[in-house]
């Protein structure tokens, strides 16, 4: 089951006012506000963690850590608009993923659990191999370059959205993306040639 844009749990938060209300409620410590934020942003945070770590269990652990950490730092969130809130969650996720890698937690190996029903096993296997190669190639990137690639190619954010949520200019994001793709291409080429 591939994540569907229309399946975002917090679809009821699409309205800016509702998101602002949820953020305000969360800042007051009200559970319903947190539940709304969880439903809306859990898939994005999970996708970010999985794209970064490549391990489902580790991604789930990191995603859980992100929401636990968010509870204690929600007071620092000033902007209740969606890009800002999403960027805030993803920023926490990025830090948690880096911590996870630094701690050297062993990847516990569940690559993929439920198989998507709309893909055949051969396609899934091929996809996993390709995805694994990309993650391997990303080892050569800086943390900022990885961040930009995940936002652009996994979360489908526009250049402007990435620039807004990472406090960079659009040109800087473009430059980061260009260098990152170049590095990934170079890293993938010899493997393909081999």
């Amino acid at each position: 089951m591939i994540f569907d844009e229309s399946d975002r749990g917090g679809a009821n938060l699409a309205d800016t006012n509702r998101l602002a209300q949820a953020v305000a409620a969360a800042q007051r410590g009200e559970a319903f506000g947190w539940s709304a934020l969880f439903e809306r942003f859990y898939p994005d945070v999970h996708a970010y963690a999985l794209a970064r770590l490549g391990d489902l269990t580790a991604a789930e652990d990191v995603t859980q850590e992100v929401f636990v950490a968010a509870v204690t730092s929600i007071k620092t969130l000033r902007d209740a608009r969606e890009p800002a809130v999403q960027g805030w969650f993803l920023h926490i996720c990025r830090n948690k993923a880096v911590d996870h890698i630094r701690k050297g937690i062993r990847q516990r190996g569940v690559a993929f659990e439920p198989r998507p029903l709309d893909l055949d096993p051969g396609a899934i296997a091929e996809m996993n191999i390709e995805a694994g190669r990309v993650r391997q190639a990303m080892v050569h990137l800086t943390e900022d370059q990885r961040d930009v690639l995940i936002r652009r190619f996994v979360l489908d954010q526009s250049l402007e959205e990435v620039a807004a949520t990472t406090t960079r200019t659009v040109g800087a994001v473009k430059s980061l993306q260009h260098r990152a793709l170049d590095a990934v291409r170079r890293a993938l080429t010899p493997k393909r040639a081999a």
């Binding site: 996708a47 995603t63 998507p116 995805a131 990309v134």
Partner: protein, 254 residues
């Protein structure tokens, strides 16, 4: 995406995207939700402690500021009152300072009393609350005399005598200044009726050390002449004035 991407790289990125955007497992999602709500409960309890801590932090800052302000104010008062003239509001600081100086270990009490007396005499000379200054000087000299009596060979006796003489002159000056000026005489005064000369002895204010008059143990007294018999206080014409007792003690020449 504005950038053209190599088709092979694009395939790899798509695979990466698809594998990353898998739906999270239900139990993991529920576990994360529960953990978040647990953290929310813990965080809800924390504000009490945090509020107390922040109060303590604020209070400690306020305490530091108040302490610093108190120290600065105390230093300012001490500096202002260090040599406050008699009669001023800060004279208590000076009195306290003098008391502390006298209580310090190793302090020479006699020298200090003489020093305080000299300071009061200087103020009297400068007409700074002269009555009070003279009274203070007399008090200090009285105490100095009492303590000097126990040490006939003290080198401070000459200094004491000078101060006592100064006190006498200041007292005289004060008395003269306080007397009303005589009316302008239209006719010469009768013979034998004259105003006292300034040099004449004037009845002086009794000083606390009056009880020690007859026991002046100054070296000049006890130098062996002995003819005074310790009753020198009565031969200066001012026998009732204790302040003059040590001054006129007979010298060996006499």
């Amino acid at each position: 995406m504005n950038e053209w991407i190599d088709p092979q790289l694009s395939v790899a990125l798509d695979a990466w995207r698809l594998s990353s955007r898998r739906a999270p497992r239900r139990h993991a999602r529920e576990r994360a939700h529960d953990a978040m709500l647990d953290a929310l409960i813990v965080a809800a309890r924390r504000p009490v402690a945090r509020g107390f801590l922040s109060f303590r932090r604020r209070f400690s800052h306020a305490g530091l500021i108040a302490s610093a302000a108190t120290v600065m104010a105390a230093a300012g008062v001490a500096a202002a009152g260090w040599n406050a003239p008699p009669g001023s509001a800060l004279f208590v600081v000076r009195a306290a300072r003098q008391g502390v100086m006298l209580k310090l270990p190793g302090a020479d009490d006699i020298a200090l009393h003489l020093e305080f007396a000299e300071q009061s005499l200087a103020e009297a000379r400068d007409r700074i609350n002269p009555a009070q200054s003279i009274a203070d000087a007399a008090n200090e000299l009285g105490i100095a005399f009492t303590e000097l009596s126990a040490n006939p060979s003290s080198p401070l006796w000459p200094r004491y005598r000078i101060d006592d003489a100064t006190l006498l002159s200041e007292e005289t000056g004060l008395q003269q200044a306080s007397q009303p000026s005589p009316p302008v005489a239209t006719s010469p005064p009768p013979v034998g009726d004259r105003t006292p000369e300034p040099s004449e002895p004037v009845e002086r204010t009794p000083r606390p050390r009056s009880s020690t008059n007859s026991s002046d143990p100054s070296p000049s007294d006890s130098g062996g002449s002995g003819d005074d018999g310790g009753g020198g206080g009565g031969d200066d014409g001012g026998g009732s004035s204790p302040s003059s007792s040590p001054g006129p003690s007979p010298t060996p020449d006499e």
